[in-house]
Every structure is written in structure tokens, then in C-alpha cells.
């Protein structure tokens, strides 16, 4: 065990974010006040500083610290960036939401920042124990955030997420224990060494069981079939901006750790888990898409669609090459923009105490509020994977990697699923543009400069990544080149 003081430099971005969270908490305690956005500005500033520190990690050689527990490489840096983007966009879309709900407290910001620290550590963990602690740091903050508004639905959402999340953590911890029992270590590096001495995995059924349990824990976090049942209720009940945060941040962080652990530590079991993920990927996207087809509520539809997106991303897990990793990274960052963007529009269309998320509430909105309509249109097209949007490039990269490894049928099922998904994404547009509004839908929208900024950033990012993806593809390739 050698810890060095210089190890702390690896944690610099994490410490900045943690420090910001503490600062926001203190400001809230000593200078409480409504109608101000101090906490928001402060948090964004902290995230930008952290982003500046992370920028230096790109291109630098990978280094480990804390006795090999934490790794700082391009992959972790990429996911840290994703976390900042998730954080900043969530803060921006939350602004008008909590303002109109008269629920402006800095605690939300502090919780979110701490959750972000958990996400950042997940992508950089080179050790199952650190990964588990990071996962819990992330999750516990989110349990609190889901019930933040103390509404009936919010409490239900929080409680459901907490109970099932606790159960899944137990699964994962049990899996880690079994892995420790068979490998004698839970460091990824150590496990690889142990597995390299085994002729085949059938010599260690205990390790196989451990791998399966860890996978089950991750599948819960990414909302993969059959561990997805909590998703619609939790996403629908939580405050919309928290839903946006959960749907993007948790998924990105969980996939970051999932991919690193399985590709780095368990290649020996790849025969077992690729076929399992093959089935899971197909089941997840099919289930998500077909359930989404039946939804009349936009928020719930987006919840099911996020299950479907997890399915597409699982294709990357099946493929498990660095090319697939590139696709997943690109897909996740586009997913962050389009999903938070879409939830941001959902927030704008609601009013105090009334979310107004049924499809009827969207009737005729497209022509009443042309910019808002155009933004949601772009988000929907991107989610459906129609060019020239980032969503298309993301799907293209993931399916391309699958085809490269010979998973033609998986790619075919994936594209057929996206064709089915077009139907429910277009239905939102059908209501927005092709129907006359029957009620006062879209007459009043809740916006603020910050939430408009969030939508603008998302739209621009989706179009830029859709039309000129080359630069980001290169960054993602560099980030996954090690796998």
C-alpha cells in the first residue's frame, strides 16, 4: 500500500466539485433567499473550473493513484466531461422549473454536485470497491433528489427507487464478494492477473456467479430488461429536472463503469456475457420501444424510450471492442443533449403544480411557439436517429461496430427497433404540428434565460455533432483506444 500526496492531484476535478457542493451548502445555510440564482451560478462556475482541470487529462498518459484504485485516463476524462455537461444542463433546465414551483433551495444543487462526484469516480474506478462506493455516492444523492419536492408522486418515486436501488446494490455487493472470494482481490488489474492463470472460467463457477451478479447490478442502474420495471414510475414521479438528470447522468456513469469493468477485467468470460447481453440488448430495446408506443404521457414515453436507448447501448456491450466503445461514448453524449433538451422542453410546457405532459397538452404547440416546437422536433428526430442529428451518428457508430464483429442480426434488430421508435417520436410532432390546439396548451410557458440557454446549447450541440461529428469521434476514439 503506498499512498502518495501526489495522488491527490488525480482527484483535483473531483475535489473542486465536492468543494463547490460544500460551498453551495454553506451559502444556503448562511444566506438563504428566494428568487436568486446564486447557487446555480456558483455550481456552474465550479463545474467549469473542474472541466478546465479535466481538459488537461486529455491526451496525457493514463496514470493510476491510491494504490491503483483510481485511474485517470482519456476514458475517465471523457466521462467526467459528460458529467459536467449533464450537471450544467440540469442546472439550467432546473432554473425555471424550481422558480415556478417556488422550490428554490441550494440543497438541490449540493445534492446534484455530490451525485456528480460519484459519477466521475465511477468512470475512473479501477477497483470494484471504489466503483461500489462511487455508485452509492451517486445513488443516495439521487434518491433524495427524486423525493425533493415532497409531492405524493415524488415521494413514491423516491421510495421505489430507493428500495429497488438498495436491492440492486446488495446484488452487486454480493457479486463483488464472490469475486473477491475467488480472485482474492477486487482490483481490476488483480482480477485480470488471476483470470489469466485460469484455463477457462468453468474452473471458477463462483467467479462466474460474481460476474453475473455485478452485471445484474449494472443492468438495474442502466434500466435494462428485466431490471427496468422501476423506470417509468420513478421517472414520471420525480421532478422533471431530476428525471432528466437520472435518465442521462446515471446511465452514462453506469455504462462507463460497466464497459470498463467488463472489457478490462472479465474478457475471459466474454463468451458467457456477450451472449447474455445479446439477449438483454434485444429484449431491452424491444420492450422499451413497444411499451413506449402505448404511452399517452410524454414524460412516461421518454422514460420507456430511455429503456430503449439502454438497449442500443447494450449492443456496444455485446460488441465490446474499442470501436464499440467509441460508439457508446458518442451515443451517450448525444443522448445527454437530446434527453435533457427534451425534458427541458417538457418543463417549459408545464405550469406550477401541473406538469401538463399528456400528448393532448402538446396539441398545436408547434405553431404557437415556433422556436420551442423546433427545438423539440430536433430532439425527437435525434432520438429517433434520423440524420442530420447527433442521434443518427451515435446509432451509426454503435451499429457499425456490431456489424464489424459479425453481429449482423443484432444490428438488424437494432435498426428495426429504431424504425418502430420513429412512430412514437413522430407522434409528439403529430400533436405539435398536425393538430389544432383544443385547450390553452402552450399559451403560457415557463422559461427563463437559463432554461432557454439549455435548449439552445442542446440544439446546437445535436446539430453540430450530427453534421460535423469528426472531431468528437476522434476524441472518443482516443479515449477508448486502450480497450
Amino acid at each position: 500500500m503506498d499512498f502518495q500526496i501526489s495522488d491527490l492531484s488525480l482527484l483535483a476535478p473531483h475535489m473542486v466539485v465536492t468543494g463547490t457542493a460544500l460551498l453551495v451548502l454553506l451559502v444556503e445555510a448562511f444566506r438563504p433567499g428566494k428568487g436568486r440564482s446564486d447557487a446555480t451560478y456558483l455550481s456552474i462556475l465550479g463545474l467549469l473550473v473542474a472541466a478546465g482541470l479535466t481538459l488537461k487529462q486529455f491526451g496525457a498518459p493514463a496514470s493510476t493513484g491510491f494504490a491503483g484504485m483510481l485511474i485517470a485516463d482519456g476514458y475517465a476524462a471523457f466521462f467526467n466531461m459528460v458529467a459536467y455537461v449533464v450537471g450544467i444542463l440540469t442546472l439550467l433546465v432546473s432554473d425555471s422549473y424550481f422558480r415556478s414551483e417556488e422550490y428554490e433551495h441550494g440543497e438541490f444543487h449540493a445534492l446534484m454536485l455530490m451525485s456528480l462526484v460519484g459519477m466521475m469516480l465511477m468512470s475512473g474506478s479501477n477497483h470494484l470497491m471504489l466503483m461500489f462506493l462511487a455508485l452509492e455516492t451517486m445513488s443516495i444523492s439521487i434518491y433524495a433528489m427524486a423525493g425533493y419536492m415532497r409531492t405524493k408522486e415524488g415521494t413514491e418515486s423516491s421510495f421505489k427507487y430507493f428500495l429497488l436501488g438498495g436491492a440492486s446494490s446488495a446484488f452487486m455487493l454480493y457479486g463483488i464478494a464472490l469475486l473477491y472470494a475467488s480472485c482474492g482481490t477486487t482490483s481490476l488489474t488483480g482480477m485480470v492477473e488471476y483470470f489469466s492463470t485460469l484455463p477457462s472460467l468453468s474452473d471458477s463457477p463462483m467467479a462466474l456467479a460474481g460476474i453475473a451478479l455485478v452485471a445484474a447490478g449494472f443492468c438495474f442502474k442502466i434500466a435494462a430488461f428485466p431490471f427496468h420495471v422501476w423506470t417509468p414510475d420513478v421517472y414520471q414521479g420525480a421532478p422533471t429536472s431530476v428525471t432528466a438528470f437520472m435518465a442521462t447522468g446515471v446511465k452514462a456513469a453506469a455504462f462507463a463503469a460497466f464497459f470498463r469493468i467488463f472489457v478490462v477485467a472479465f474478457p475471459i468470460a466474454s463468451g458467457a456475457w456477450t451472449s447474455a447481453f445479446w439477449v438483454l440488448a434485444v429484449a431491452t430495446m424491444t420492450m422499451g420501444n413497444f411499451a413506449a408506443l402505448a404511452q399517452r404521457d410524454v414524460k412516461r414515453m421518454l422514460a420507456y424510450s430511455s429503456i430503449a436507448h439502454a438497449g442500443y447501448l447494450l449492443i456496444g456491450m455485446v460488441t465490446a471492442t474499442s470501436e464499440a466503445g467509441t460508439g457508446m461514448l458518442f451515443y451517450l453524449i448525444s443522448y445527454v443533449f437530446m434527453n435533457i433538451g427534451a425534458f427541458g422542453i417538457v418543463i417549459m410546457l408545464g405550469k406550477k403544480g401541473e406538469d401538463r405532459t399528456t400528448l393532448e397538452d402538446y396539441a398545436g404547440v408547434g405553431f404557437k411557439k415556433p422556436l420551442l416546437g423546433a427545438a423539440l422536433t430536433i430532439f425527437m428526430f435525434s432520438m429517433a436517429g434520423i440524420p442530420p442529428t447527433a442521434g443518427f451518428i451515435g446509432k451509426f457508430l454503435i451499429f457499425k461496430a456490431a456489424v464489424h464483429e459479425g453481429y449482423i442480426w443484432l444490428a438488424v434488430l437494432g435498426v428495426l427497433n429504431s424504425a418502430a421508435s420513429v412512430y412514437y417520436y413522430l407522434r409528439v410532432l403529430v400533436y405539435m404540428y398536425f393538430r389544432e390546439s383544443e385547450s390553452e396548451s402552450g399559451d403560457v410557458i415557463r422559461t427563463s434565460p437559463l432554461s432557454i440557454l439549455a435548449a439552445a446549447i442542446s440544439v446546437i450541440a445535436i446539430l453540430v455533432l450530427g453534421i460535423a461529428p469528426g472531431y468528437l469521434v476522434q476524441i472518443a476514439e482516443a479515449a477508448t483506444a486502450a480497450f
Binding site: I5, L22, A29
Partner: protein, 118 residues
Amino acid sequence: MVENFVPVLILFLLAAAFGLGTVAISSLLGPKRPTKVKQETYECGMVVDPPAYRPFHVKYYLIAMAFVVFDVEVVFLYPWAVKFKQLGLFGLVEMLVFIFILLVGYAYIWKKGVLEWE
């Protein structure tokens, strides 16, 4: 190797049989003359008062949570103190960070009025 555990299994079975058997025999053989007092909840011989189902003051939970946090802090501090020399400067910095974070939390709950019992 497994046969080494046979005595343990026998002991386990005997213990289970004794425990279950005692309860079963006493419930079969013992006389049953229920009275109102006998059917009340057992509370160390005290008179039961008042009913158990009533809300606690919310302050109680807050204090309890704060207590658990600082209790755990001590659990963490103790082994650190034992190994203080070996951990060196790194250990000191780590512990200061840890204590600092808790301190911020302490300031927060203090300012929010968690510690005032009114």
C-alpha cells in the same frame, strides 16, 4: 474436508431441536388461562403506556442521524490514530479532508436549527 463439519452440523441440529422442542412442549403441556393483563404487550414488567403507535418528534430523527454520522466519524478516527505513524502525511491530509467535510455538514445543520430542541 467436508466431513470435518459433521460435528458442527450435529451441534446445530441438536441446538435447533432443543430450542424448538422446548417451545413446542411448553405450548402443548402448559395450562392456558388468558387474562387481560397477560395479553398485553410485554414491556419489561412495566405498565404499558401509552400506545406504541404514535409519531415521534421529527427533531428526534434529525438528532439521531447527526449522532450516527459523528459516531461513525469516531469509528473511522480510531484505527487512523492507531496507525498514525505508518500512514504519515498522506493519512493526515486525508483525515483533515474527511473532518473538514463533516465540519461543513455540522455548520449546515447547526445553522439550519437541527440542534435546537424547541
